[in-house]
Assembly symmetry: C2
Homo-oligomer: 270 residues x 2
Amino acid sequence: MRLTEEQITRYHEDGFLLVESALDEQEVERLRAAFLRDCEVPGPQVIREESGDRVRAVYASHHRQPEYAGLIRDPRVLGPVRRLLTDDVYVYQFKINAKPAFGGEKWSWHQDYAAWRIADRLPAPSQVNVAVFLDTVDEFNGPVIFLPGSHRSGLVRDGRSAEAKSAQHLDPDDIALAPEQLSALVAERGMVSPKGPAGSLVFFSPEIVHGSAPNMSPFPRRLLITTYNDTSNLPRWAGEPRPDYVVCRDNEPLRVLDVPFLQALEGANA
Amino acid sequence: MRLTEEQITRYHEDGFLLVESALDEQEVERLRAAFLRDCEVPGPQVIREESGDRVRAVYASHHRQPEYAGLIRDPRVLGPVRRLLTDDVYVYQFKINAKPAFGGEKWSWHQDYAAWRIADRLPAPSQVNVAVFLDTVDEFNGPVIFLPGSHRSGLVRDGRSAEAKSAQHLDPDDIALAPEQLSALVAERGMVSPKGPAGSLVFFSPEIVHGSAPNMSPFPRRLLITTYNDTSNLPRWAGEPRPDYVVCRDNEPLRVLDVPFLQALEGANA
C-alpha cells in the first residue's frame, strides 16, 4: 500500500490519517486469535484491570506471536511509516489495549511524546504511531478522539503533574492538558474521532493531542498500537530504564516484507 | 407543532423521537439565561458535583422561572406529549442536567420507570420524557444513547442493587442492567444516540433502556428533561414521599399555550 501525496499531506496537516479496511477479515481473525493466545502467556507484560481479572493491555506481542512479528513489517504498515518518518525505523513500543466492555477507563487528553520525553528521555518526537482496529470502532465503544492539527503546537504541557501516581509508569492523567489549554485548542481545531471496520489503520503523530471516552458497549474494543521510532533517536535513560516489554531494545532498522504478513507466514510454513 | 402519523408510529416503535431545532436560537438563549439565574437560587434543588462546586443538576426550575413555566406548556412540547400519552398530563419531574466539561459522570444503562416504580410506586409506565438540548449535542459531549425498541421488552431488571447507596435517592447504578441483559439487547437492537443543534427535542419512553458516556469536551452539555405523567397514575407512597422538587405535587392537567412560550411571556408582560 503506497500512500498518495494527498494522504501524506493530510497526515502532516492533521496529525493523523485513517486508512479504512487496510487488512481483510481473515487477517483480522488471525490477529485476534494471536492476541487471545498472547493473553495466556504469563508475565508482567499482561496488564489486568484494577477491578476484576480482565486483560486491560498486553505489551510486546510481536516478540512472541509470529502474526505480529509479520504485521509490524507488513508493506501496508511499515511502508507508509517509512514514507511519513524515515527509512530507518524500529519498534519502540507495541501494545494492544483491550478497552473492556461497559466502561474501560477514559483516557485524559494528552500528547504521547510528553510521556516519552519524561520517561525515556527520547530526544525528539521522531515517531509514528500506527493503530490497527481489531474490532469495529464506532461512536459507542470509546474511539480515540483527536484535535486535528494540534501536533503543530508542539508540546502544550511540558512536565508532569505533582500528583503523579508512579515514578516509573506514566499515567495520561500525569501529563493531561489543563482545562484552559484544551478549551483553547478545541475552540481552534475541533475534535475528530476516526471510525471504521476492523482492519482499518490510523497513523498518528506522537505530538497530536488525543483522548478517549469509556467503552459504553457490551463488547470489548481491542486496539493495537505500534510506535515506530527513528533509529537515530534512541532513549537516553539517566536512571533505571523502563522494562523491555514497555520500551523495546532491538533498534535494528526494520525491513519491509515483500508480501502481506499472512502470505509471508504461510510461505515460511510451506 | 403537530406530530405526523409517521412520527407517532416511530415513537411507539423505537421508544424515542428526535425533532431537530424545534426551538429557535433566541428561545434557547432565554432558556440558558433562566438556567443561570436558577442556579443562583439557594436550596436543596441545586445539586453540586461531588468534587468541586460546579452545578451538576437543578430540579423544578419551572416553579421559579417563567420561561420554564411557559416551556412545559408550549404547543411544541406539550402538544406532542398529549398525542403520545393522553390529554390529561402533569409534570411529574423537571430537571436540568449540566453535564460538566471533561468528564461529567457516565450514566449506567437503565430504564427510568424501574426507578420511579421503586421510589414513588408509580403504578404504570404512563409517562413521556421530553429532553430539550440547551447546547448542541454531538458525539463528544456525552449524548444519551438509546437501545431502539427496548421499551417494548418491559422492565428488564426488576428491583435494585443490593449495594444501593441511599434508600431515598436512586442512582442509575442501583438499577443498572446486568451485562448479559445488555449484551442480548444490544445484539438484537443496536444503539442510537440522537444528536442535533441546541433547541432540538427528544421525546422518549420511560421504559427505553438508555445510558450516556462522559462529556469529553471542554464545554458543559446542558440537557433539560421534563417528565409528564398521566394524572390518573399518581405516586402511591408507602412511607415518606420524595421531596417536592424531585417529584412535583401539582397534578392538575396542563393546558397547552396558544402560542410559543416566549410570545406568551411577552404577551403577559405587555
